[in-house]
């Protein structure tokens, strides 16, 4: 796909020049960086000043050749953040709304309705009014509606943003299934790192309408420039853990990371062996160059500094301590402690700084 466009906005201009060919491309950036504007431009919902938008050699927009296909002609499935289901139609009518377009396709290109309903597990919702759907169900219906229009490209605008954390974890597998079952390329807009890592095989990092970096997510997210950007952004450490034991009297749960490293997180009433995710903000982690003593924090873990990224007096330090922990420090703290790569350090984390997902 070729995406080259310039769109002036009140505060800044979106100016993107990218070319990619991936199953799932993630547009990643903080809120207000023009991500939705880019999707609207691809779908033909807003005017693009100049540029070219091309999918598989098919030109959707070209200012030079004076081509500007209407949203109807573009063959793009769009799942906006709020789902935008038609509230006066039933779930079934919503799901089949775009299937007219699909009826013009050959049997091979057509996606079977039953298959989509099964993959997204919404067959039991068909007679329900839209107003009676939960947030997660509504997103799955919106996804089914877009997939059943048999688009050439699927645009997902933060489909999980409106959902609470528990629900997010449940919907994410559905997105992976859509990715694996129907071979429709996807562009997935998000500002959540764990979603990028779970779904995308290409990432476009956007900030204030500009492309900062693009590439394979793991590489892009590890470059010092990117880490420096994270110093200013809302980023969270998310780890998959397994319960070793939950001690109600002590008020804490002992869990194990995939690497075997143990952590103490707040008490959860669950049995040993249960798996879940924990989250800690980079600002809630302290770094010490010596092993601290006489300190109340439940987690003191040794590790090594892997990378340090700096931006505007802020620094993001990546520490390998059984897993990669992102730690937010001021630039002066980095200087004062003389932190450099491969330096051994201790991470200090309060039990209560962890949140259970």
């Amino acid at each position: 796909m070729l995406l080259r466009c310039r769109i002036p906005l009140p505060d800044f201009a979106v100016d993107i020049d990218a070319s990619f060919d991936a199953r799932v491309t993630s547009i990643f950036g903080p809120s207000g960086s023009g991500k939705t504007t880019i999707l609207d431009a691809i779908a033909g919902l807003i005017n693009v000043n100049e540029g070219e938008i091309e999918i598989d050699g098919r030109i959707l927009f070209s200012s030079m050749r004076a081509i500007n296909l209407s949203p109807q002609q573009r063959s793009i499935g769009y799942v906006p953040q709020e789902g935008a289901l038609f509230p006066h139609l039933s779930v079934l009518q919503n799901v089949l709304f775009g299937s007219n377009r699909a009826s013009g396709l050959t049997a091979r290109a057509r996606i079977e309705t039953d298959h989509v309903l099964a993959v997204l597990e919404i067959a039991n919702l068909l007679d329900r009014p839209i107003t009676k759907l939960s947030g997660g169900e509504a997103q799955r219906v919106a996804l089914a509606r877009a997939v059943l229009s048999c688009p050439q490209l699927l645009l997902l605008d933060e489909p999980l943003a409106a959902l609470d954390v528990a629900l997010k974890e449940k919907i994410l597998p559905y997105l992976s299934r859509v990715r694996d079952e129907f071979s429709i390329p996807m562009i997935y807009v998000t500002h959540n790192l764990s979603e990028v890592l779970a779904l995308a095989d290409w990432i476009l990092m956007i900030r204030k309408g500009r492309l900062l970096a693009q590439g394979v997510p793991k590489d892009v997210l590890r470059s010092p420039d990117t880490i420096a950007q994270f110093a200013e952004e809302q980023l969270e450490n998310v780890f998959a853990v397994m319960i070793i034991d939950a001690d109600r009297v002590a008020g804490r749960t002992r869990v194990q990371l995939e690497s075997g490293q143990e952590l103490f997180v707040p008490y959860v009433a669950q049995a040993a062996g249960q798996a879940f995710q924990v989250r800690i903000s980079p600002g809630d982690i302290l770094i010490s160059t010596k092993q601290p003593e006489g300190i109340s924090a439940g987690n003191i873990i040794p590790g090594f500094i892997r990378r340090i990224g700096r931006s505007d007096g802020q620094a993001m330090v990546v520490v390998d301590a059984g897993a990669e922990f992102y730690v937010r420090l001021t630039a002066s703290a980095v200087d004062k402690l003389e932190l450099i790569e491969d330096h051994p350090v201790f991470l200090i984390m309060k039990t209560h700084s962890f949140r259970i997902l």
Binding site: A43, Q72, G77, P87, G98, T131
Partner: protein, 224 residues
């Protein structure tokens, strides 16, 4: 209450013409309301004000303007007369006076409900391949439906109560152009107060029913 054949005729004539005028303005009102709600152009406010003008102008003045437009000596009136259509002093005059006077009420109510339809829904429908007409009739109109019906009921009530513009354009001819309001005026003038009160009761009942329905619809729109 003593209801004569004459009373029935007046009531039936008024309701029929008011209903006719509402049906006539409905497509234009919906189209204009949608344009006002969705499109922007320079000097839009002037057009909007002009459409709303009959709402605030003395109805007699509007009637006078209509008489100037449709009178037999005006170009429009003459053109119509040559084709066998006469507007002034017959039921068509009543219908036009009612239509013009009630049009702004329909446009205002429909415009508000069109504005409340999330444009994102129309955009998403477009990405799903729906034509403009399909989007309008399957998404926009159904979502604005209650407001449109409420506006139509208001317009109907306004048409039924029309007096000033009607008397100038169509006159007050019993059995020909006499509506409920014109007849009440006539009865009071000629001292037939009993008949006037009968017509008054009928007017109150019809007006109450339509305003009540309209309010109910508008409020249930807000609830959903």
């Amino acid at each position: 209450m003593f209801v004569t054949i004459e009373t029935w005729q007046i009531t039936l004539f008024s309701v029929a013409v008011a209903l006719g005028s509402t049906l006539v303005i409905l497509p234009f009102g919906i189209a204009l309301a949608w344009i006002f709600a969705r499109k922007e152009w320079p000097l839009k406010a002037i057009i909007e004000t002009a459409v709303l003008l009959p709402l605030v102008m003395p109805p007699v003045s509007t009637g006078l303007i209509l008489l100037e437009i449709f009178g037999r000596r005006s170009p429009v009136g003459e053109w119509l007369y040559d084709r066998g259509v006469e507007i002034v002093f017959n039921w068509k005059g009543v219908l036009i006076a009612m239509a013009v006077m009630s049009f702004p009420l329909l446009v205002r109510a429909a415009r508000t409900s069109f504005s409340e339809v999330n444009p994102r829904l129309e955009q998403i429908a477009a990405t799903l391949g729906a034509s403009r007409w399909r989007i309008f009739f399957v998404i926009t109109i159904p979502l604005a439906f209650r407001g449109i019906i409420a506006g139509s009921l208001l317009a109907f009530s306004r048409a039924l109560g029309e007096f000033g513009a009607t008397i100038l354009l169509a006159g007050n001819i019993p059995g020909r152009t006499q509506t409920l309001s014109l007849a009440i005026f006539n009865y009071v003038q000629t001292g037939r107060e009993h008949e006037a009160y009968t017509l008054l009761s009928i007017t109150v009942m019809i007006a109450f029913a339509s305003v009540w329905c309209s309010e109910w619809l508008l409020h249930s729109t807000k609830r959903t």
